[in-house]
Each structure stands twice: as C-alpha cells, then as structure tokens.
C-alpha cells in the first residue's frame, strides 16, 4: 500500500529517501547520512556530500547552517517566517510572551528536530526560539524549499507528515497537562528527554538537562518551586539522582510508574 511504503519512507532513518529524477539534476536529494544525519529528515541538507559537488546546499546559498550561543535568539516573536530550522546539535526553547509579559515555553527542540512548522500558515513567527546551549542550526529558506517541493511532491509529503507529527505531539501534551498532576507531568518529561536522548544515540539513563528548572516548570505549567520539590522527592524516593543539571535515572521502572498511564510524549518532529 502506498501509505505503508511512505510510512517506511519516513520511519527508516537510514534509507536514502530521494533519488534525483532527470528533472532535478540541479538539485541533489541524496542524503549524506554520515555528515548530516540530523538533517536527513529532509533529504535536502547535503553538507559534505561526496558524490555531488553541486549539492542542494552548495547550489542554494540561502541554505546555511549557523551557530548560536546560549541565550541567543534563532528568531523572535513577530519576525517574518523565512526559514524552516533543523537542529543539528544543541537545542532551543520555543517561547511565547503575552502582551502582559507572562511567558509560556511551548516546546524544546533538540538534535534532529524541526522548528517553525506552526508558523508557516501565518507567515510570521508567533514565538521566539532561544538557544539553551551552544547550538548548531540548519536553515532551509521556506520559499526555496517550497519550490523544490512543487517539483518533488514526495518531499512535500515528508514535510506534511512532520507537521502531522507535531500536531500529535501537541495533543499528547495537552492530555498530559489537562489530566495529570505534577508528579506525572515531571516523570513523563524526564522519560521523554531520556527517549529523545536515546534516539540520538546517547544514554537514556544519564544526561544533562540543558534547560533551567524555571524552563522545565514553565513548560510543564508548574511553579519553579514545585519542580524543585519534585526533583528532591524523586531523589529521596530513589527514582533519580540529580546533581545540578545532571540527571541519572536510578529506577526507570518506578519512574515509568510515576508517569503512569500518561501516554508517553512522542518527541516532536524526530524522524
């Protein structure tokens, strides 16, 4: 079935997703998994592509990577949407600030994840994206991406599925925040981070929080102090070992139990 083959297209990270047809000789779709694995979701960003000197990347100077330091803005609320962004390493938080100054962190985007899909329709960034640590980003100019998509609809398909996944992620989060209380929220959050870490080939048991307590609290719609207390509690209960920003999951079973039936968050736009 078409749908299943396409699911695989998206799910199998290691497969070559696009072969250039005769029409697209000037734009390379070949993925260079080794040099650009986080971006491979698009099959677009071909840094260091060995076989194709005139890669999409080289041939379209608009596509560029850049590096942000902690606290720097990738884009600001109100900016015109020009690019879709892929995190190559590091991470950012997506922050909405209301006219009265209240803030809401809507998401964290880590390695391999894609931002700003929600702002395409409006054409304007509804939130700011701020680096949590030193972060490397790949920018895909949306107008160019779009024109490539016009010629290669399978690429559009992937883009669309990423948007679909982000919707599903938001919905899962809504369930978490709407129905679950602080312990379940926090446990789910830690497990989500662990699983995202694992997807990137790192340890799922031990990692550093790149975000502050305040960020976590705000994201989970809790007070900072509540998160602090939860960390202490989870430590004394033998679920976690926390030292500053470093976290080790001591008992993943108990932690999952705390997270309860809350459907695990599916990390946004990891393909």
């Amino acid at each position: 079935m078409l749908m299943e083959s396409q699911l695989q297209l998206t799910d199998n990270h290691n497969s070559v997703k696009f072969r250039p047809t005769s029409r697209e000789n000037n734009v390379e779709f070949i993925i260079n998994q080794a040099s650009c694995s986080p971006c491979s979701v698009f099959g677009l960003c071909s840094h260091g592509d060995k076989d194709h000197s005139s890669s999409w990347h080289a041939g379209h100077p608009g596509v560029q990577s850049s590096t942000l330091h902690k606290g720097e803005y990738l884009f600001r609320q109100g900016d015109k949407l020009l690019n879709i962004y892929v995190i190559r390493s590091g991470g950012v938080k997506l922050l909405f600030i209301a006219p009265d100054g209240t803030e809401q962190i809507l998401n964290f985007y880590l390695r391999g994840e894609v931002l700003s899909l929600g702002d395409i329709e409006a054409g304007v960034h509804s939130c700011s994206a701020i680096a949590l640590e030193t972060t490397s980003i790949c920018k895909l100019p949306y107008d160019k991406l779009q024109s490539v998509c016009q010629r290669e609809p399978r690429l559009y398909d992937q883009l669309f599925r990423m948007a679909s996944k982000e919707i599903a992620y938001e919905q899962t989060k809504m369930v978490l925040l709407g129905q679950r209380q602080s312990e379940e929220r926090f446990a789910t959050f830690i497990l989500d981070l662990a699983s995202r870490n694992r997807k990137n080939g790192y340890s799922q048991r031990e990692f550093n929080l790149t975000m502050s307590r305040h960020d976590i609290a705000n994201y989970l719609c809790l007070a900072d102090e509540t998160v602090s207390r939860l960390m202490s509690k989870f430590c004394t209960d033998g679920l976690l070992e926390v030292n500053k920003r470093s976290v080790r999951i001591s008992d993943i079973g108990k932690l999952s139990e705390k997270a309860g039936v809350a459907a695990p968050l599916q990390s946004a736009c990891v393909n």
Copy 2:
C-alpha cells in the same frame, strides 16, 4: 512574492483555487462554491459541480459525504486512518481516552473545519470523533488525496498550511491553559465560538452551544461545576445571557476584557 501569493490562495475563500491542467483532465479541481463551500478548502469536493459532470467527487466514489447523528462516532480511537474529514455542517468533538479511563476533549471541529491531520503520520486515529449534533461530513480518502497531491503540489501546499494552522491553534490553546485561569479560559472560549460562527455567516452575538457543559469544562481543563459557576457569574455580571444551551453575548467589550490579553484562539483549520 511566492509566499504571499500563496497566502492569498489560502485566504481568499471565494477564489477558484485550481484549474485542471491538461494532465488532470480526469480530475476536476474547480470549486463549486455555492454547493460545497465548507469543503472548498481543498478545491476537491465538487458536489453538484455544474460544468463538470465527471467531477472528482463522482469520479472517485471513495470520496463521499455522510451524516452522523448526535453521539455517533465518525471514527474511533485506534481505527486505521483512512480519510481526512471536512465538516459540512454540525460539529464533532475530538476525544482522547486514556487507559485509566480519564478523558480529554482535544478540540471541537465545526462547519468548514478539517479533522485528523494529526493522525496522518501515525496512520492511526489517536482519538475518537463524536458528533455533537446532526452532522454532515465529507470524507476524503487519504491515499487518493495523496496521489492527487503528487500531481498537484499546490494542493499539498494547502494541506500543509492547514496542518501548520492546526499547530498554531494547539500552541495558542497551550498558552491559554498554561497561563490563564478559569474566567479568562471560559471568556476566550465563548469569543472563539462567536468568531467561528461569524466566519460561517451566522451571528457572533447569539448562538447555541452544541456541546454540553461537561464537554466545555473538559476541553478547558476545568471541572463541570466551575463552568457552571462561570456561566452564572458572567450572567449576573451582565456579560452573557444564557438559557440552557443558547448564549447571547450582552457585552462583548467586557467579555473581551475578561478574556484579557490571552491571544484569541484562532479556530482550527478554517480556511
């Protein structure tokens, strides 16, 4: 600019969006605004198309409309995703039920709005959709839609933008639920309904709630009793006149004030 012209493509509801090219003679893209305005978002559903007897609709028997009565399921959590749905009239609620039985209403979809974009990637419905009243639906088989999209990428563009809009909607809701308390949530909800009503050519000051108090409460992550109290309070405060399910906004200024700076919800997928 490309982007702007395409924004208009999506925003101008009355324009003809697709002209069949020579390649797509067997599939009609002409919109029949008069007979099928809610579905016109796709430029696909051409019920009663006068000029083209062999319409997309007729030529692809998979595309069908159907009618649901109050309480009936459009699809169930766990069902395979086969269609994208457009509400022609009436409305549905999107309901997630956790393993422990807790429920969360994720959204209400009313006339002209599109469901199930969030389930495309997974290929399975993560929630159930249940009719709030007698509801007429247009089903677009996703596999067929997709193959048309492959040939007509501008259609894919529209689909993608709808997904983008849905993401933005979810994010706005997250801000509302994360940062605002009950009065602001409820006021915002009423104003959102009013604005969606207006978009459909009905009165924005006076309308019927098609959902129960329980549904509203659950959607806003409040207790039923809290919503009940808010209604009473808003009535005595002269903001609303409520009689059973009928609502009249007495003072839209004060109501907006109550809603506060909470960014107005942008109704999902109304194009």
